[in-house]
């Protein structure tokens, strides 16, 4: 039982990254209604490009983070303008297939370029444990979590406090009315997609500084992000955060007390239960079923 606080801490650390990645997906899937199966690949690209800029271009961690954010925002923008835009308003099926194609392309393109080996992003500081009573956390993890939380707050402020954020909220409430009011909805969609993409990529880069980035990790991350979004409720900002932390803790507990091998089952079992008993998500007030 004395390991409980440690498991909890580990779970919360993982949970922050799940939340960050799911926050990206809740914008894309929850608000834009694009069932984005390439989300995990954006996460993976964040890790891989983070590795590239820190190891090859010799940037330090924080300027690397900024470069990766700018790069992935551009990627997200282009993907939306050139691919997603063409199937917008045709239901979710073409979007699903399109993003599956995109994810196959991105995974294998990356494998071709950098190979299957794990890639470590150079961290911002030395590994060294810090002790809080019974809990040991490495400094690196603490820093990554702090950056993750800062990003979550930043995204929140962007959506709540800026003109772009207001335009986004208006567009997703009623695209027609928004465009009548002079909002260029095409740009808003692209910006939302770019933001979602960037959040996933930064989550990937932060986590790659703790563990490592791998070209093939995307599929599982996509699924877990979907799990978190559904847990929290579609399009719900707070839900994505709570869902992410919940999944992280649940996995850590299951891994610690039951079995390590079956850890990934947890998310899927949770999502099946949620959709059966509370399809609007744990934290959403509005009942919303497509």
């Amino acid at each position: 039982m004395d390991l409980f606080p440690q498991f909890l801490a580990n779970g919360l650390v993982m949970g922050v990254f799940y939340a960050l990645s799911a926050l990206g997906l809740t914008l894309i899937f929850g608000l834009m209604r694009v069932v984005n199966f390439a989300h995990g690949e954006f996460y993976m690209l964040g890790g891989v490009s983070g590795w590239f800029v820190t190891n090859y271009l010799g940037l330090d961690f924080f300027s690397g983070l900024i470069v990766v954010a700018a790069l992935m925002a551009a990627v997200g923008w282009l993907v939306d303008r050139f691919l997603i835009e063409r199937v917008r308003g045709q239901g979710e099926e073409p979007g699903i297939l399109l993003t599956i194609g995109l994810s196959i392309f991105l995974v294998n393109g990356t494998l071709l370029l950098v190979g299957p080996a794990p890639m470590k992003v150079a961290g911002a500081m030395a590994e060294g444990p810090l002790f809080f009573g019974p809990i040991a956390v490495t400094k690196l993890r603490l820093l990554a979590v702090a950056v993750g939380i800062a990003l979550i707050v930043g995204a929140h402020l962007l959506i709540r406090r800026t003109r772009l954020g207001a335009a986004m909220r208006a567009t997703f409430q009623d695209p027609m009315a928004a465009s009548l009011a002079g909002i260029r909805t095409g740009h808003v969609y692209a910006a939302t997609f770019a933001l979602g993409c960037t959040l996933a990529a930064l989550s990937g880069m932060l986590l790659a500084s703790i563990y490592s980035a791998q070209a093939s990790v995307g599929g599982l991350i996509s699924l877990k992000s979907f799990v978190v979004v559904i847990l929290g409720g579609m399009g719900s900002f707070a839900g994505a955060i709570a869902g992410g932390l919940l999944l992280g803790v649940a996995e850590a507990m299951w891994g610690g007390y039951v079995s390590m091998g079956m850890v990934d089952v947890i998310g899927f079992v949770l999502v099946i239960l949620i959709l059966l008993f509370r399809p609007q998500g744990l934290f959403s007030i509005r009942t919303e079923r497509a």
Binding site: V87, E92, F105, V107, I230, D264, F268, I272, L275, R289
Partner: protein, 323 residues
């Protein structure tokens, strides 16, 4: 309807002659895999094309069938004529159970939950070592058809697979042109209108789902015997992606579409083997191109062309009349 039936019969008859005309083992292997995928794609098409819900968990049934056949064969030494139908039945039971849960949901929720079920089964197959032998998989699945008769060559496997494909197409055909099939299409087109004329959306969707699961289970059972090895990869998303691409490339909601898709994709995958490393990258690009430029698949494209052809003479006639 009759055109579709005649084309299907002609295709089956043509395919039956193939092992007598071709002795090249490699080509026969490709033909077997094309038929295997044709059955899978047709079974997925029952859900995607006729119920209109996008299932990403179809590998659950493929894998269940494959594991059932492999276990019955390696543990109980049963021959193929027992294991393959049983594989179908077990998958159908799974289909019923999973359908009872998932078919209550629609749209993206249905997509994610079906996918979750497939993933859960994959992880169980990977970790329940006592039964499934974990990641090592079950090797040495027997190849006896019945009694002492063993299938030794590719031609034999081809004929068995062709038999399964014939059964699958017959059942799909009967389903699609039955009242249940028409009811399913009605639900697909407009759920509320269908309900208002007394169609039970859940019930009709369930029939298609269970039939799809049964057919995928048969294919899985065959796969276990043919490859003679089953591992957790049968649940992997790669199979799922291949199936979806086949259905959508061919044209969903038609019986011939998935067959055409299966043949094209199987051949294309082999052809792209030439460029080894680039293969899957190109594959991804091709998928995106299909979505953007051939949204209704090949059958949709052909239907469109035929409509245009039919429209032309009347257009000309109309012009002459005005002149």
């Amino acid at each position: 309807m009759t055109l579709e039936r005649n084309i299907l019969l002609a295709l089956l008859a043509g395919a039956a002659l193939l092992p007598f005309a071709v002795t090249d083992q490699y080509i026969l292997h490709l033909a077997i895999m094309a038929l295997f995928y044709a059955v899978l794609a047709s079974s997925l098409n029952l859900v995607v094309g006729y119920v209109g819900e996008f299932s990403l968990g179809h590998t659950a049934f493929l894998g269940t069938g494959a594991y059932t056949a492999a276990l019955l064969s390696t543990q109980a030494g049963m021959p193929m004529w027992v294991t393959i139908p049983l594989a179908g039945l077990v998958s159908a039971v799974f289909g019923f159970a999973i359908g009872a849960i998932t078919l209550r949901l629609q749209g993206p929720y249905f997509v994610i939950v079906t996918l979750s079920f497939a993933e859960v089964l994959r992880i169980i197959a990977n970790n329940w070592i006592a039964v499934t032998n974990g990641p090592m998989g079950l090797a040495g699945v027997g190849q006896t058809l019945f009694g002492d008769v063993a299938v030794t060559d590719k031609a034999g496997f081809f004929l068995i697979m062709l038999g399964i494909a014939a059964v699958a197409l017959y059942l799909s055909y009967r389903f699609v042109y039955s009242n249940a099939g028409r009811a399913a299409v009605a639900v697909r087109e407009n759920r509320y209108v269908a309900q208002s004329i007394g169609v039970d959306p859940f019930g009709t969707a369930m029939q298609a789902f269970v039939l799809g699961a049964f057919l995928a289970g048969l294919a899985g059972g065959f796969y276990a015997h043919y490859i003679s090895f089953v591992g957790p990869e049968v649940f992997r998303f790669a199979f799922m992606a291949t199936m979806i691409i086949m259905v959508l490339l061919g044209g969903k909601g038609t019986l011939i579409g998935p067959l055409a898709g299966a043949v094209i994709v199987t051949v294309l995958e082999e052809y792209l083997r030439e460029v080894q490393e680039l293969r899957l990258t190109l594959f991804g690009l091709i998928v995106m191109a299909i979505v953007l430029f051939l949204p209704n698949g090949l059958m949709g494209f052909i239907a469109l062309r035929r409509e245009q052809q039919a429209a032309k003479p009347t257009l000309n006639a109309a012009k002459e009349r005005t002149v």
